[in-house]
């Protein structure tokens, strides 16, 4: 059961197939999908056909496998540019990263999980490929806790019920109870820490990005290793982080949408047969 708990008819079911396929993290064969799915063979088959047809899935005839398709990348570009905080936050993150020299993350809450929407690496060239789009647990990351701490009670309950409470390290919260206490503290001083709860040796400070109604829009964090830095050193960055978060919130609020194109795909880019809705004159 994926996100499609609600009854969203055929479309919802098709999208849950998409989610399922994405969740494997590798190309999958039809039979494997079928085994893990509640849908009957023919139904699943048709969905997979349709989605492939639509470019939402990519079929490898050689290996007979399905994987998420490139159309998603195109669509995500639009989503990222419009629905995420990333575009507005960008200059602020750049500055933070330059000043601290550490890794900076920008995250938002999505389905009770942390979704990283942007990142600036520390000077080291290490790291996996691009972080945007990656998801992580909310209950044991600095950014996750920062956002949870400002969630209205009913939503918080819903979110907590969806956490996996997996014990990653010795300090990981493994139940809502212990976490709630910490969330209360976070709420009072507006600062959240990851005390190696997700990965040994990795610590971070995070702050929520709040709108005018104190609703969390996202969170911002600076991450370091226990070798190079300490919680106290990170705590010292608190004021700077809060300032950045506030600036981002302000910008986001007033950012109606730069009619001044540049975020959008100019009409000429749209190939024939597609409906152009954006006009760019240059």
């Amino acid at each position: 059961m994926t996100a499609a708990l609600k009854n969203d008819g055929t479309v919802g079911k098709a999208l849950s197939v998409l989610d399922q396929i994405a969740s494997y993290g590798r190309p999958v064969r039809f039979t494997e999908l079928l085994g893990d799915s509640a849908l009957p063979k023919a139904t699943l088959y048709r969905f997979v056909q349709t989605l492939t047809n639509q470019g939402m899935l990519q079929y490898d005839p050689e290996r007979q496998t399905y994987a998420p398709g490139l159309r998603l990348v195109r669509l995500a570009h639009a989503a990222w540019a419009q629905s995420s905080l990333a575009p507005v936050a960008r200059p602020h993150i750049d500055a933070l990263s330059a000043e601290t020299g550490e890794t900076v993350h920008l995250a938002q809450l999505d389905h009770a999980q942390v979704l990283y929407v942007d990142k600036r690496n520390a000077r080291d060239p290490v790291e996996m490929f691009s972080q945007a789009g990656k998801v992580g647990p909310a209950y044991c990351t600095g950014v996750g806790k920062a956002m949870l701490a400002y969630l209205p009670e009913p939503e918080l309950n819903a979110a907590l019920a969806q956490q996996s409470w997996h014990r990653f390290t010795a300090t990981t919260h493994v139940s809502p109870d212990s976490l709630r206490t910490e969330l209360h503290d976070i709420h009072s001083d507006g600062l959240s820490f990851d005390r190696e709860e997700h990965e040994a040796g990795i610590i971070c400070v995070a702050v929520p990005i709040l709108n005018a109604h104190q609703r969390p829009l996202g969170a911002l964090s600076v991450t370091g290793t226990t070798r190079r830095t300490s919680l106290d050193a990170l705590r010292a960055l608190g004021p700077r982080l809060k300032q950045a978060a506030h600036a981002i919130a302000t910008d986001a609020e007033s950012w109606l949408f730069p009619q001044t194109n540049s975020a959008a795909t100019p009409a000429q880019y749209i190939s024939k047969g597609e409906t152009p809705h954006v006009r760019s004159d240059a």
Copy 2:
């Protein structure tokens, strides 16, 4: 009419609504959608509801607007990691970028358009969706022409029929005829140039990334400005580019999928209520 020319039933129609919304490049109101859509009011309304429900769209109650949703970003991460050449090409692109100091692009063909899947800008770090996911015209970009030149005849015809033939600059090809001649040349020496066809002052060299059957999987380019470099200087990079393209093709061919995780979202990241399909033991 978007990609859903084929009759893909309800799901196809819903996805075309998604495409439509993404194409505006900014949040849109229901009425605007309705005006540009062939669907009847109630039908469009229900689709938009369903998609919002599913996180494929994001609704802003304050402004009453819809925009592509964050779920797309999550899904795209999987697509990018699995269906694009980007992960395999990464080290090669890094090297190229370091050696040349110029901007390097990695693109693939999607719906007869160029889809950029990765980029190195000598300076900036990678910000995934800001550039990956962007689309451009195939008929007047170096990467686009490199791929078109190696497309089998029937597919080439289909692709050419879908170009917009918009004249961006004085050198832009504005009909299939003149382009075909150039594609022939590109095919013979394996090198494609953008002679300020898309943007004045911007030139580039590109090579196709071909699989064992000479099918274009993608293309690689080095871009510069007429101020800083020349076509001849770029031409000199040809051999190096070809070498990189070949290396990428080879790696892609043999890259079954690193069972050795790291590409995948570990099972623990999946929140309760979602089906975990990936196992990671660490």
